[in-house]
Amino acid sequence: MIIGLDVGGTHTDVVLLGSDRILRQAKVPTDQANLFACVWAGLDEVTADIPPGSIRRAVLSTTLTTNAIAEGKTVEVGIIVSGGPGVDPESFRTGRSYYCVAGSIDHRGRQVQSINAREIRRIASRLSSEGIRHVGVVGKFSVRNPAHELQIKDLLGGSFEKVVLGHQISGNLNFPRRIATAYLNAAVYPIHKRFFLAVRESLNRKGLSIPIYILKADGGTMNLESSLRSPGQTILSGPAASVMGSLPFASETEETLVLDIGGTTTDMAVLVRGIPLLEPLGCELGGYKTLIRSLNTQSIPMGGDSAVRIVEGDLKIGPGREGPAMAYGGPAPTPTDALFALGKITDGNAEASRKGIEPLAEQLGTTIEETAVRIFDRACNEILEAAARMIQRINSKPVYTVQQLLEGHQVKPKNVLVLGGPAPHFASRLAAMTDFQVKVVPQWRVANAIGAGLARNTCEVALFADTERGIAIAPEEEFYRSIQKDFDQYKALDLACELLKKKCLREGTEDADPEIEVIEDVQFAMIRGFNSTGRNIRVKVQVKPGLIPEYRKIAASLFERDPSESAARDADLGHGSR
């Protein structure tokens, strides 16, 4: 059995999955102020009376680190950066304890200026005296040569709880993002550690020693131990759970737009032949551009519970949720209330919804029904416009070779998968408004939790080799090797794959022979004067986001198991596009 748990903005969803079906599901209100309580309530509910040892794994997707950053509830971090010439590193200051120090490495990884040990020791004692226990150390071009970061770490000594080194974060080049990511990793470390150790301990006390996995922003999982190494990877895992939950139902030959319509937000992503697209460098959160590998998602502050108002004579939906829909006792009219007023939902107080919409209708000078239609259509249109913007952004991503530019594949999804609370209603309207093939994800209310439960491990390894300098380096893996003149692209690729497999095992993959995808594989002849002096090789391999093999049986059963839901789905789509 597998547990999948996803903490959303409004609800926390949990499922217990058997080998071929959903055994249990639970939905508890999310209490952002006490995430542990709601996570534990959810886990407690689905594990009641389950024999110890029968649960193979639990995959958790939480908003813990995301919230901590958004609300500024992180610990103070000391950041030490060695930039050398270029953009002034002062521009990337992360907080009060931010030190720009001597030391510089060039683009090929050669030392230009050494670090100053006395300067580092002075900073170390200052950080200690200020009670700072979490530190990030980041050098420009440290992914080409991490020597300075390692030296600084040594000089800092063992008195800090966590020292994050920039080169371990990602093989990608981007110094400002490396600084931000190191900062975030250090800043959320104690919160993350405390939380998950508490979850593990509570499960242990119940006699359930379940291996815990944590969902990452790229839709993959990692085990608890790996998450302690880079807790920042859990940031923005929320949209990832839903995207993973939609995968079994996505076209394997075409492109699909996934819409997760929640209470407060609508998240969207694009799947190409059943595989979600990743951000080129990393996610962006609260003004921080990072190197955290992440699905390419877009979130708009509009969901089923967004408050609807009239601003300058026009309807405005969100941003912001003031409570549930008025039909469920909430304070302000919402798109969900519009669905009540139109008679599409009936399990609440429709009269309250109509009362809430009435003043809006008066201001617009029209009927309640017409206003409800307009609210609903406005919501659908905003989703479609945001989706169009995201697709445009994906398609305008620059490429750097003639071949890539001329091939220039343009993403153009024809299929839409909708999940989240009001999914069926939105799906039917979107189908009527567009040419998309719109489908509702089966079990749309808990598909996110299913997605978390079934996600597989993802990994990436970047390898850089320079035969003129005689080095091969995979910075994230702390891998450095001297190489001979005959080292080439093919050897680099073999080496990178070997490193990737090791990394997968360390991070808790269940697949001994994962499917590896090559994302970058280039070799440049280095010419000095008119002579070839070496090869400059860059290789990047990954295990892309996907599901563990069990998903097939479960997905097949999802279409059949829940007759009431599939009936609702068919009925709703009936008056859609047809």
Partner: protein, 438 residues
């Protein structure tokens, strides 16, 4: 967070799969370290810097500028269309007002490509700046354009294309032609009779350093721009004046290039040459991007930068002052010289030999221009190569008067096709390009 004071567009197209030949300076590796530096500095993440994907220029875009012999596909590749397209993309973004300035960091380069193209010269096949400018003129009605070429080599291709255009001020700063390819670009090269004075050459002696370049900018280039009042300023931003460049003998630096860019404030910069791929380009490009965007570039410098080591001698300083004075004097006299040149003659002729170093072609040209008082004058070029290919090319300028238009069409129809492989007509008044096969 870093934010630019000037919204700046960037097309970055390193063409990592294109080279003239494996060990040629213009090879795949050229912008590799620049890419690494630009990416590592995080320039593309800065608020106010927008990266665009290059459009492909079209054959019609090329035909607005060049006579390609025998046809376009024989002298260019898709890479050239992307490179010119990258410049064009930046031009469009600037004209549409989506950015204030932009930089096309593209290759292959273009400033040695002349109006008639039989092959590659100085690593260039088509003139990417001219393709962009003529597109912007056609699409947005841009009229007066200034091109400031800061590549170390004389921009003889751009000079040739705009030799007879009084609405395009072409200024080239370069290493003295007596000491470097292509051997042209002297002060007295001032443009054709109908456009005398809108070609300006500022040859600088070897080992000119920051002081000399910035002096020439301040005392020659900027005053001319102020007089000319262009609608658009284009910078052909070659980077081979750098003290580490393997093909040249100058002592310019990343700081200097950034400062020059800050002074010039070009609307559009386009990368040209620059072959110190590790020691110069990564730093010069970062400096230029930051200067365009109005960011503080004071900490951008090469690892081995030492201003004392590259300082120019007093002789060089004196020489540059003299050149600047001469340039200004020519600028003052030019209107009068133009009147005299027009005189009451009907036509003017010139003959020249052009060598295509990259492709090893010799070309002989005989040019006839109508000395028109109402427009730039219709132009006919008779061109023959050592391989025996002979063409006749007629250019009707953008703002041609009625008589020049009629004369051009008359020439095109009446030339005896038996004498030529091809006869071309480039009619810029109707944006048309016609070919008669011999």
């Amino acid at each position: 967070m870093l934010r630019t004071s000037t919204k700046t567009g960037l097309v970055f197209f390193p063409a990592f799969d294109w080279a003239i030949s494996p060990s040629h300076p213009e090879r795949e590796e050229r912008l590799l370290y620049t890419r690494d530096q630009v990416f590592e500095e995080g320039l593309l993440d800065i608020e106010g810097i927008v990266e665009y994907k290059p459009d492909l220029a079209t054959i019609a875009d090329v035909q607005r500028v060049h006579f390609s012999v025998p046809d376009e596909w024989s002298i260019l590749t898709k890479s050239h269309l992307i490179s010119a397209g990258g410049a064009k993309t930046i031009g469009i973004e600037v004209m549409e007002g989506r950015v204030e300035r932009g930089f096309a960091l593209v290759r292959p380069p273009g400033h040695h490509a002349m109006r008639v193209v039989h092959g590659a010269r100085g690593f260039c096949n088509i003139n990417i700046e001219a393709v962009m400018i003529e597109y912007l003129r056609e699409t947005y009605g841009v009229d007066r354009v200034a091109i400031v070429d800061t590549d170390c080599h004389h921009g003889d291709g751009t000079q040739d294309i705009y030799w007879h255009d009084p609405d395009t001020l072409f200024i080239s700063l370069h290493q003295d032609g007596r000491t470097l390819y292509p051997g042209s670009g002297f002060q007295y090269e001032l443009g054709g009779p109908t456009a005398l004075g809108t070609t300006i050459n500022i040859p600088l002696p070897p080992r000119t350093s920051e002081e000399g370049f910035l002096y020439a900018m301040k005392h020659a280039v900027l005053p001319l721009l102020q007089d000319f009042k262009p609608d658009l300023i284009i910078n052909s931003a070659g980077q081979d004046n750098h003290y580490t460049d393997p093909l040249t003998n100058m002592n310019f630096s990343a700081q200097g290039y950034a400062e020059l860019t800050k002074m010039l404030k070009p609307h559009i910069a386009v990368l040209e040459g620059g072959y110190s791929i590790e020691g110069a380009l990564p730093y010069v490009n970062v400096g230029i991007i930051m200067a365009l965007a109005g960011l503080d570039f004071s900490k951008v410098r090469e690892p081995d930068y030492d201003p004392d080591k590259i300082r120019q001698s007093a002789d060089v300083t004196r020489h540059i002052r003299r050149v600047a004075d001469e340039v200004l004097a020519y600028w003052e006299k030019a209107p009068k010289m133009r009147e005299e040149a027009l005189g009451d003659k009907q036509f003017a002729e010139r003959e020249r030999n052009i060598f295509y170093d990259t492709d090893g072609i010799y070309e002989f040209q005989y040019e006839t221009i109508r000395l028109c008082h109402d427009c730039a004058g219709v132009l006919a070029i008779d061109s023959e190569t050592d391989a025996g290919c002979r063409i006749h090319a007629i250019h009707i300028p953008r703002k041609a008067c009625k008589i020049c238009q009629e004369t051009g069409h008359d020439w095109f129809d009446s030339r005896d096709a038996r004498n030529y492989n091809y006869i071309f007509l480039q009619d810029r008044t109707h944006d048309r390009y016609l070919v008669r096969k011999g």
